[in-house]
Symmetry: C2
Subunit: 291 residues, 2 copies
């Protein structure tokens, strides 16, 4: 009788969902007959003592719960429209803290154009927020993990690492504008957001695209050490690939940023092989349950 | 500093969501410009030791988690299409039980035509399933709680009470066919599903519609005692209102059932007043956090 801890999160998800419709990208993208848009759906849990600790403020808890979901939309180049939020709390929960969380929610429409249209409140052992997002993307244009091609360059939208230590994992802004602009540019071949660390998440793109990659350690923008950038996770920057001659049309304002942000490596034909400065990159990656 | 237990579930939801877009019906119904359908969204949590206990089988846990959400769609006369499921489990969770739960999920498409298209697996203290549902209803035809009119008759789709005792709360089938047929009949003025007991849920319709009601205790179909029918909850039958001369078109097969199921009372103009056999019906109702 195996436990989740023995299996690890990724193996458990793979085993448990084997018989369900394939779920691989940050969001599910569902074509709608007769519509100019595909429907885009995603959900993320935020759990006390797992995704945040007692030191987090109500505003930070609300921000992280929602921003994780919005980052999934950014990763597809999609537009979030509606949220539903299940809040779980113990019966002795101080209502004032919940009021502050909901007050933060009510400011989201102004910030991101998303409306909270439903959800539920239930009794549990610790504070949890389960955020479900519904949105859309022009038909057939969602950026998937599976489109990276050998010779493509690899980019990230900002510096990586140390997000738990610095508190950025609670306060980050989802890269919705970047995601939208990158999709509209027509130049991006694959994209996802970095939640588990550059090494682990890049491997998801490699596997989905059937390619390999070589990273240049000196080109990776850092918030801390290289090790933190590769393995920490929760940066919520976008990781994407594009041909070397790509023109990021419509990205006038961000064009400078893209030229400033060097590509951090390139895609190779070497199936699933991930090299750092020419050497195989093995090693640990952030994974729930195995901690 | 009030706690959730001191406030009670309904007061807490009302207070916390006061600044958000009004959420009152079983699902959110969202018009989509250019579409013949309104988008329909809902979510429900299922938490160990709250909504089920250690004695429940994996199949029952999976059924209840999903059927609660599908019942919300039935209550609007809507068609569920997609589900996302966040599963929370402790690290020492036996994976075999989770496999059985997911195996049950994979049979849902055949049973109800809904596809599981996403979700997440996270670490927590007890087993929880958060099910998010996405579906549709022909534009402007969703059955709300707010349409009951004085003189309407009140109906339920099946016997009430004792659902926890009998185990029906784990094994019930959502009334999707009923919901769809009742919407298509064009005769129904308001509808919801019975999750908190006939007394509490009928009050939701009265409040939303600005009306009152008189119930006839002898006409209420019972699975146990009258008290259980009024206050137990988790029957997941549909509660609806219709004019006395309503013809339930397109309900040929169920017509017999509707004629057999007597109306259990009638809607009055007496704002929010709920009478049982001519006397005010006060009293307890099932409410989370206050147990």
């Amino acid at each position: 009788m195996k436990t989740l801890r023995q299996m690890g999160e990724h193996a458990a998800i793979a085993a448990l969902t084997a018989n369900l419709k394939a779920v691989g990208d940050d969001c599910a993208v569902l074509p709608q007959p007769g519509s100019e848009y595909d429907l885009v759906l995603t959900s993320d849990p935020l759990i006390q003592n797992v995704h945040f600790t007692a030191g987090a403020t109500p505003e930070q808890i609300a921000n992280k719960a929602v921003a994780r979901v919005l980052s999934d939309f950014a990763a597809m180049g999609a537009e979030p429209q509606y949220l539903l939020i299940n809040l779980v709390a113990p019966p002795d929960q101080n209502v004032r803290l919940l009021e502050k969380i909901y007050s933060e929610f009510s400011s989201l429409f102004g910030k991101f154009g998303v409306e909270i249209v439903g959800g539920d409140l239930a009794q549990g052992l610790v504070l949890e927020l389960h955020v479900f997002g519904v949105g859309r993307v022009p038909k057939g244009t969602a950026l998937l993990r599976s489109g990276a091609k050998p010779g493509n360059l690899i980019y990230v939208t900002g510096p990586l690492g140390g997000a738990q230590k610095s508190g950025k994992h609670l306060t980050f802004e989802p890269r919705l504008e970047w995601g939208n602009a990158l999709r509209e540019s027509g130049a991006v071949t694959s994209m996802m957001d970095i939640s588990d660390g550059l090494a682990t998440d890049l491997r998801h793109i490699l596997k989905a695209s059937g390619v390999g990659a070589e990273l240049d350690s000196h080109a990776i923008p850092l918030n801390g050490t290289l090790d933190e950038a590769l393995f920490d996770g929760e940066d919520f920057e976008l990781l994407f690939t594009a041909p070397p001659d790509a023109v990021f049309q419509g990205l006038e304002e961000k064009q400078a940023a893209i030229q400033w942000l060097p590509s951090i490596g390139k895609v190779t034909a070497n199936l699933n092989a991930l090299l750092l400065d020419g050497e195989p990159l093995d090693g640990k990656a952030f994974e729930h349950f195995k901690n």
